[in-house]
């Protein structure tokens, strides 16, 4: 059985300017121990999918569809029941570690609370486990640092603390929303190494939400690419990078400057801008920017369909032919 099965998820926000269609008919599954990358630009819906699943939607948001975690429907679940799952079986870490930690409480208090609440550990046992986890995420001098406040840690170390906290109850699924975006590149490398190690040494499934294709290349087994609130392509990691079948995935790969390329020619760009989620164009949300568009793309929204080798895409093109 899949660990998480999301089907036909829709998330809408009511705003004074009208309804925002943040997530549109999103379906996917995640197996135990799998590492998935979710890639998209701002407004693609990549974070909103998971905030919806975690029951963390803003007050003006509402969701329809289904998200079953180990068979339990998460949408519409009572808060107390949801709390039993969140933070224990299902954990999430965010980009900004400073706003995710309570600045008034020592790290020790914030870490042991979870263990005492969810696992019924004694204070002493919880402390020992908390310190052990800080050591596991390579916080030097963990025993001494355990009683410090969040502001006494650097940004990279706070993100490690966040990861340690998320791992406290050995979750089945860890959702990481841009965990390295605010960090310097050498610190990002440390955090990514930590995630790879976590992947090797535990059976925790990981969802890595990011705008950076490079981050998923070295970490994930499978990738979902989102655009305009929809999944437009899903495939095993090598296929996404070497045989993308959606023009948007292809465009994203082409427009990313690569460190290993000395070429100083113009980057291939995707013209135009991401769609306005209040006024999605008819047909395919990407059609106005797509070099392959044809008449059908302007009128009919492409279905998300199977195209073989574990690959799926939402595009009318039978096969993406790339002129070399």
């Amino acid at each position: 059985m899949a660990l998480l099965t999301v089907s036909h998820l829709n998330t809408r926000f009511d705003t004074p300017e009208g309804e925002v269609k943040a997530v549109n008919d999103v379906s996917f599954t995640i197996a135990e121990g799998e590492t998935i990358g979710v890639v998209g630009e701002s407004g693609s819906g990549k974070s909103q999918v998971f905030l919806t699943i975690m029951g963390l939607l803003a007050a003006n948001g509402r969701a329809t569809g289904s998200a079953r975690f180990r068979g339990v429907e998460l949408l519409g679940l009572r808060t107390d029941e949801l709390n039993r799952i969140r933070g224990s079986r299902l954990a999430m870490i965010f980009q900004d570690s400073m706003t995710s930690l309570n600045p008034y409480l020592r790290i020790s208090r914030q870490m042991t609370e979870v263990l005492v609440t969810h696992r019924g550990l004694s204070e002493t046992e919880a402390r020992a486990q908390g310190i052990a986890l800080l050591e596991r995420v390579r916080i030097p001098d963990a025993a001494r640092r355990f009683d410090m406040y969040p502001h006494e840690f650097s940004g990279g170390m706070r993100q490690r603390v966040m990861i340690a906290m998320a791992l406290l109850c050995q979750p089945d699924l860890l959702i990481a929303d841009e965990p390295t975006t605010a960090l310097d590149v050498t610190i990002q490398a440390q955090i990514l190494e930590l995630m790879r190690e976590l992947k090797r040494s535990s059976n925790t499934a990981i969802i890595m939400i990011t705008h950076a294709l490079g981050v998923v290349a070295g970490l994930c087994d499978r990738v979902l690419v989102m655009y305009g609130g929809r999944i437009v392509e899903e495939a095993p990691v090598r296929q996404i990078f070497y045989e993308p079948q959606h023009p948007y995935t292809h465009g994203l790969l082409r427009s990313t400057p690569r460190l290993d390329e000395a070429d100083a020619s113009e980057l291939r760009t995707i013209p135009g801008q991401p769609p306005n989620l209040q006024r999605l164009p008819p047909g395919c949300a990407f059609n106005e920017r797509c070099a392959w568009r044809f008449e059908r793309c302007r009128v009919e929204e492409p279905a998300f369909r199977e195209i073989g080798h574990g690959q799926r895409k939402a595009c009318h093109l039978e096969h993406l032919e790339v002129p070399s």
Binding site: M157, D184, V185, A212, G218, L253, S255, A262, L267
Partner: protein, 329 residues
């Protein structure tokens, strides 16, 4: 002016700030050496990349070059003339030749001015005598050059996306046809597909107009794409400076090597087999820098010598300098 003559020469530039360490009343005054002894040249039509992590002094360096913050010591030589001691009035005529583009495109634009007014403001300031109609024509020409529809002249910044706001900022910086533009993280706030558009725009304008750029960025992939030469900073000091090909093909400083190896490559097979140099720990506090080489606390090659002696800048080639005791190893 011959092509070899530098547009800008920076000699042993220092920008120090005095700050107070943590601890309320007990905190003591300390010196923050944001930029500490940096030297480089920028030739006409050249793009110099300045890279480093947060707190390395790259933005401070950019602002000091433009005399937007006071220089503590050293020289900034603009077209053969030292400018570091000029006051605001004396700087003013030089300013039309040196412009800046900021990271946050929306925050850099006055929300109450129309796009036409924003882009045209430098014209009003420096060339008040040109007729209104000609000014408007120049603004519209510039808008077309940066990829904005000239009919959007009367719109306000909030009506534009981040990428378009960055185009407005670039148009404004270029309207006077300056000789140098400092671009401080010009694409960091933008989405990947928009980043590429702005990167291309900068490269094209630079090629067509022969402007020199100082591109401040933490993104080594973007820097490799745009820059002719690259300066690597760490805690305010130069670690290495080299031409693009020298720096990326044979980085000599352990910090440069680690920086390059830390950049994720969007290619699963390459990612799986590339060597990784993991740096331990975090950047040292700039208020309490280590003795000797500033990088030694994280350096895999550090020895006792590194703690005692500040490494001198070794010259490897006409364009390549490195400050490390152990770069030969």
């Amino acid at each position: 002016m011959s092509a070899a003559e530098p547009l800008l020469e920076v000699r042993d530039l220092k920008v120090h700030f005095s700050g107070k360490t943590r601890g309320g009343l007990m905190g003591k005054l300390t010196l923050l050496r944001a930029v500490d002894g940096i030297s480089f040249r920028v030739r006409p039509g050249e793009t110099l990349g300045v890279v480093g992590e947060s707190g390395c002094g790259k933005s401070t360096l950019g602002r000091a070059v433009l005399q937007l913050i006071p220089v503590t010591a050293g020289e900034v030589v603009w077209l053969g003339r030292p400018i570091q001691h000029l006051d605001a009035r004396e700087m003013r005529p030089l300013r039309r030749d040196m412009q800046i583009v900021f990271q946050d495109p929306l925050a850099a634009l006055d929300p109450r001015m129309t796009v036409g007014e924003i882009i045209g403001e430098p014209l009003d300031t420096f060339l008040p005598s040109i007729p209104k109609a000609e000014g408007k024509a120049r603004v519209q020409e510039m808008m077309a050059k940066v990829g904005l529809s000239p009919h959007m002249l009367n719109r306000y910044p909030h009506e534009f996306s981040g990428g378009q706001c960055q185009r407005i900022g670039i148009a404004r910086s270029m309207i006077l046809n300056p000789k140098l533009i400092v671009c401080d993280e010009p694409v960091s706030a933008l989405d990947v597909s928009i980043q590429a558009q702005i990167v291309n725009l900068l490269m094209r304008l630079q090629r067509e107009l022969g402007i020199s750029l100082i591109l401040i960025s933490h993104d080594l992939s973007v820097v490799r794409h745009i820059c002719h030469r690259i300066l690597v900073l760490y805690l305010g000091r130069m670690m290495e400076i080299a031409s693009r090909d020298e720096l990326y093909a044979s980085p000599r400083h352990p910090y440069t090597q680690a920086l390059i190896s830390a950049v994720p490559i969007p290619d699963p097979d390459l990612e799986a087999k590339k060597p990784r140099i993991m740096l331990g720990g975090d950047v040292h506090s700039p208020f309490d820098p280590p003795s000797g080489c500033l990088f030694r606390t994280r350096c895999p090659k550090a020895t006792a010598l590194c703690a005692e002696v500040v490494p001198p800048e070794d010259r490897l080639s006409e364009t390549h300098r490195v400050a490390c005791h152990h770069w030969r190893e």
